[in-house]
Amino acid sequence: MKIRNSGGDAEEIKVEMTPMIDIVFQLLVFFIMTFKIVEVEGDFNIKMPLSAPSEGLPQEDDVPPMKISLKANGAGRLASISLNGEQFPNMQKLNEYIITIVGDDHGPGSVRETAEVELDCDYNLHYVHVVEAVTAVSGTMVNDEVVKLIEKIKFAPPQEPG
């Protein structure tokens, strides 16, 4: 029996690529337009309940908070830093002082756990300086690892706008 060769006349099926490429490019443009580089962000946690008026005398073992005073110049920039009245030229020195206070004690009841810092800031002070102060107080970097210092941080009552 003779087998007929049907291959010669068969039409080659072509897949239409144009619509797919159109859609793919539209998708690509969409993703490029909506792409945003997100910066890494972190938080400083502060627990500040609305303080109720204290009753009776304060307990003897209550450690008074360290009061950090941040003064601003007319432009809102940092003019002076003081901790319980002692002046510091910059945040680096404040950080070094906090490290000496806190020491290496990590146990329960240590200064690291009990100490509390109160930030008393001028109304006009730029917020960036508050974050610098919180950074100086709350930790330090050792070999790219965060070593926590004082975690209890609160704000003094707000001052009147000056």
């Binding site: 690529m17 797919m20 490429i21 793919v24 490019f25 998708l27 690509l28 993703f31 490029i32 909506t34 792409f35 945003k36 997100v38 910066e39 890494v40 962000e41 972190g42 938080d43 400083f44 946690n45 502060i46 627990k47 500040m48 309940p49 609305l50 941040l70 601003a72 809102g76 800031c121 001028d122 109304y123 006009n124 002070l125 730029h126 917020y127 960036v128 300086h129 508050v130 974050v131 610098e132 919180v134 950074t135 709350s138 930790g139 970097m141 790219d144 965060v146 704000f155 009552p157 707000p158 001052q159 706008p161």
Partner: protein, 149 residues
């Protein structure tokens, strides 16, 4: 005169396969990196930098994000409001939290203050939040990358 038709001199089709491969790879790249959950970010706010600002190990169970602009306004849920008028908005947030059986005391108020925002405005914001029973705050800062360290 009869013009002879040249065979095979028609349309030259380029090989599209490498281009399509690359395009799909680009799409895959952007799809993976696209951040659709950036509702708590606001490009108008320039956050202060801190070397200690590291992303939290676990997200807050429930949080409200409030942005503070350099001109003293708060942005809550995309709405810019003067800080002094924030009370009713926080109250409605409080009602929404209570209705979902969450505790107000456990709700974290994330404060994203601009570098040039006045500290007094941040403190006013904290005071208004405290008046509405919120007591846990997170001051948000941008991670400061230390090069060559």
């Amino acid at each position: 005169m009869k013009i002879q038709k040249k065979k095979g001199s028609g349309v030259h089709e380029g090989d599209l396969t490498p281009m399509i491969d690359m395009t799909f790879q680009l799409i895959a790249f952007f799809m993976v990196l696209i951040n659709l959950s950036d509702a708590e970010q606001n490009q108008a706010i320039k956050l202060p930098e801190s070397t200690l600002a590291k992303p939290p190990e676990q997200p807050f169970e429930y949080s409200i994000t409030i942005h503070v602009t350099d001109d003293g306004n708060a942005i809550l849920n995309g709405q810019e409001i003067p800080i002094s008028q924030l009370g009713p908005y926080l109250n409605s947030e409080k009602t929404a939290i209570v209705s979902t059986n969450k505790s107000i005391a456990d709700t974290t108020v994330i404060i994203r203050g601009d570098v040039r925002a006045k500290t007094g405005h941040i403190q006013e914001l904290i005071k208004i939040c405290q008046d509405n029973s919120f007591e846990v705050f997170a001051l948000r800062a941008k991670e400061k990358v230390r090069y060559g360290k």
